[in-house]
């Protein structure tokens, strides 16, 4: 009798473990500068000017199904609800994914910058709003100092007609991420800053972590990961008013 009970308990335990839904925990989270992205059965790849669509429904045997022009200086790709937001140095490009998986261009919104070369301009989206950081690069090829470094918020509730609703100067902004009502923005040379976006088109700065370079940042649940050229830092962000430094690995 005991054996039957033990066996049943163990079976139940194993069954509950395997039926546990780990889908969202194991889903892929990409950074602000991602140029490769999977959405369902499709892989989207952007290079400097083109968007290529691959059908990946057969594991390990993908097929290229489409190539289309996007623009120039294309830099990152972000997905929300069947819409692809593609950031470039001069414009925000929006595509809607059709039923056959191939994106269709919906809009192109120029940033109208004074100069458009040598910038890194990732875009991320939450709900009806897109958050873009526009910045110069002062390393490598770009030695001229450009004075246009901004955080912008666009209303994209109508993807065919994005509207600029907020602009603010930020010191060399880089990657960005959102967790609930907090927007985290990397500052290339000094760390990261945090904005309250309870009012999505009016970010309010409320906190920062400084003292290190920061290139990119991603938030997953209560964990914040910050990438610098030679280091990865992590923070517990379960309470955004009291974020806790967890670790730094530089080896």
């Amino acid at each position: 009798m005991k054996r039957i009970i033990y066996f049943s308990l163990i079976s139940l335990f194993l069954w509950s473990c395997t039926s546990e839904s780990a889908d969202s925990f194991n889903s892929t989270i990409t950074g602000s500068y991602a140029t490769l992205l999977t959405v369902g059965d499709f892989l989207y790849a952007i290079n400097d000017s083109e968007l290529t669509t691959f059908d990946i429904s057969t594991t390990e045997d993908p097929m290229k199904v489409s190539i289309q022009d996007v623009g120039f200086d294309v830099e990152n790709i972000f997905h929300q609800n069947g819409v692809l937001f593609i950031g470039s140095s001069s414009a925000l490009h929006i595509f809607e994914i059709r039923e056959d998986g191939i994106p269709k261009r919906v809009s192109q919104t120029d940033y109208e910058l004074l100069e458009v070369w040598c910038s890194n301009d990732p875009v991320i989206v939450k709900g009806d709003y897109a958050y873009v950081t526009l910045s110069t690069t002062r390393i490598n090829e770009c030695n001229r100092f450009q004075n246009q470094n901004e955080l912008r918020v666009y209303d994209v509730s109508d993807p065919s007609n994005p509207k600029l609703e907020f602009t603010e100067f930020v010191e060399f902004p880089k990657g960005l991420t959102i967790r609930d009502n907090t927007l985290f923005v990397c500052l290339e040379q000094s760390g990261f800053v945090m904005y309250d976006i309870s009012v999505p088109n009016a970010p309010e700065f409320f906190n920062s972590e400084l003292g290190f370079p920061a290139y990119d940042i991603i938030a997953k649940d209560d964990l914040l990961m910050v990438v610098s050229p030679e280091e990865l830092r992590q923070y517990d962000i379960s309470d955004v008013n009291d974020i806790i430094y967890l670790s730094s690995i530089d080896l």
Partner: protein, 176 residues
Amino acid sequence: MQFIIIVFVSIILFSSCVERVDIETMGMVPVYASVDDFSFIKSEEPRSFDNLGNIVNVGDYIFIGERNKGIHVLDNSIPSSPVNIAFWSIPGNNEFTIEGNVLYADNSVHLLVIDISDFGDIQYIKHFDNIYNPEESNPVRPPSEYIGPFVCSDSQKGIVVDWNMQLIINPNCEAY
């Protein structure tokens, strides 16, 4: 008048005899492999970070790209103490994403499809030609701790898989 012509001709003859001095020095030289050579794609021992780029998170693992070299794999089950567990060598790599057991990554020219079901033994499966233009990617430089002259990388010659210190003549790049 004749005198002027003689002087003029002499100057021309003389200037062609003046030798330019070549600069010879020790410096870094890139070692190239063909973009179609996938034998370099493999799992290696974990190594120190340099020149980090893209980050991807899947479950308890963090993947961080090292520009033009490959991907660091971290076990982040305990975020207060992440462990560097492997390096995936992919010369020329700058972009990647992961879906299930498949890694999609570039090598500056092609888009590679790599099986990562065993992190310790990744396997190249196939690739798509010419998805990327190597001239658009960042120039490849010697390891960042190196200071001194080097021969600039030339994407026409292939992908850089290593750097060697040797005698170079008239280096066209400097790391500082």
